[in-house]
Assembly symmetry: C3
Homo-oligomer: 115 residues x 3
């Protein structure tokens, strides 16, 4: 089975496919001046795009790790997350507070099933 890289860059590939799975890099918002809910919505929209390129979608995510810069932002992040999940059964998930690059409020890394 071959390994396929989506948008390979200098440090990482946006996504890597092998067998039944796709692994996404930690995705951050394009506009770091946005609030945490808006950053989260942007991250999730970008994840939708990378999953689509891999032949997957958000209902097929098996696990996600949500890194946030300030745990006080967890509720606002979750509002965007719940809006996004809709009626789908959510993945296994953890949300932890870490140091991110300046002004990045949230970063999400996930693994999904393909096809």
């Amino acid at each position: 089975m071959t390994i396929k890289h989506i948008e390979p860059g200098e440090w990482n590939s946006r996504a890597v496919l092998h067998g039944d799975y796709v692994w996404l890099s930690g995705i951050v918002a394009g506009d770091k001046m946005l609030g945490v809910k808006e950053q989260t919505a942007d991250v999730l929209a970008r994840i939708d795009g990378f999953l689509a390129k891999a032949g997957s979608d958000k209902t097929k995510i098996v696990n996600a790790i949500i890194y946030i810069a300030d745990m006080n932002d967890k509720d606002a992040m979750n509002e965007a997350w719940v809006d996004w999940m809709g009626d789908a059964d959510p993945p296994a998930r953890a949300c932890v507070g870490v140091e991110l690059t300046p002004n990045t409020k949230v970063e999400i890394m996930c693994q999904a099933v393909i096809g």
Copy 2:
């Protein structure tokens, strides 16, 4: 192959099954007033329960990430971990200090083989 969710909630499912694997959410203790060793023992007992529901057990964990709120707690966390692992060969593991929700001293996320 289908994806199965165990105890899907608003934000996450306790466990997600696909193919040979089960992914568990980050699991925390029920009683946040406990010390770190007691919280860890509770987390591990809860992991036992979710793995059992998935048709797996602790000897089949392939990797685990242990998030702790205070790295000074690592030794006490490890006492509970070693008690729990017993004679089994332990999984690949990392243990890092992060910000968790208030009074949560430890959170453990793992992936295991089913069957």
Copy 3:
């Protein structure tokens, strides 16, 4: 399918193999007095060794999480990372700032395809 453990210790195994995959523990440098670029190079050399024991190599890593103790060290860490990756397409990756054990500047956990 069986689960195989490489260098099982008290807390973790250096690597765990199952099916098409190998999961490595969070790997740290042997000499904690080194700077972050040198610690990263040492970590990556050790990862090369564990991947070789598993029948894999760095071109087959699907995802990696890089934990660093100080986000100001990210650029120096990346220099060692880019040197190491060479012309290979890099894996999915996240890099976040966390608390590590004293003097540990970087810890890397990854999953790779075998064979």
